[in-house]
Symmetry: C2
């Protein structure tokens, strides 16, 4: 079972490819798709969508997991986050893949043990859980955390807590 | 000059292809890309993106115009509208096309003469301006109105009012 975890953003999209199940997963690939600020939003979304499609073609994941949106500061942010989320949705659907969403707090709770864990704690735990040789950059760490949470959601003990939702 | 106007939505995306300039435009094609409610949001966005790409391949527009988002009832709506807007952005950018945004009220003001015009007035005026044999469905009428507004934005008399913004 291969899972693609994505932390959606217009400019810095974290991604993570995991292979295995919730008891034993290893990272095949992870990183950040970055798009310079000078590229208009339409070009950035297209670059993210194409980048994710290329990763799907290369790694052939079985399922895709993204972070849900809970807290937003403004309507402007909500519109922008909605647009950012659309790129992985379109990339996944174009390959016929199902895409699941997990609330950020539930992901942190599942990985670190507390819903208000900070980025460093998430990165630290992700590194430990996957025995990575280095601490991943924070956007990639979030994507790794989402992918781990997705695997854990098939574990009866964690399933109810993680509340997977197909989008 | 060919313009593709789009009224973005997750389920019913209006589109309109116009040829000509702001003094003399004719409709080459218009309609609505509809996606059934049983398709998940990811699949719907992908279907809209693919549908728009097919229209771009067929009609080879020079520029794309979409409705901007001004009024939203809730964060949930804002996120959903943000996602809906991403599909035309990705479709346009994948063909190297520039995409411009116009505020809905400015479009209505430009077409009907008042910013709070209702859907029937927009459809009526669009039919009259383009000499269409029938009144277009309302989502398509909105797309036709956006395409007309885009052409008018190159008219010095209307340009300042319409405030085109590249996205």
């Amino acid at each position: 079972m291969r899972t693609l975890g994505i932390d959606p953003a217009v400019r810095n999209t974290g991604y993570a490819l995991l292979e295995g199940d919730h008891t034993n997963a290893r990272a095949l690939d992870y990183g950040v798709i970055s798009v310079p600020a000078k590229i208009p939003q339409s070009g950035a979304l297209e670059a993210v969508c194409t980048g994710l499609k290329n990763l799907i073609t290369k790694w052939e994941p079985d399922e895709v997991a993204v972070e849900g949106i809970i807290f937003v500061q403004s309507y402007r942010t909500a519109i922008s986050m909605g647009a950012a989320r659309a790129a992985p949705m379109i990339a996944a659907a174009s390959h016929g893949l199902k895409i699941y969403e997990y609330a950020p707090k539930k992901v942190k709770k599942a990985i670190v043990g507390k819903g208000n864990a900070d980025k460093h704690q998430v990165a630290f735990m992700v590194r430990a859980l996957l025995k990575l040789p280095e601490t991943p950059p924070s956007d990639a760490a979030d994507a790794l955390a989402i992918a781990i949470a997705h695997l854990q959601s098939s574990d009866p003990l964690k399933a109810s807590m993680l509340e997977r939702k197909q989008v």
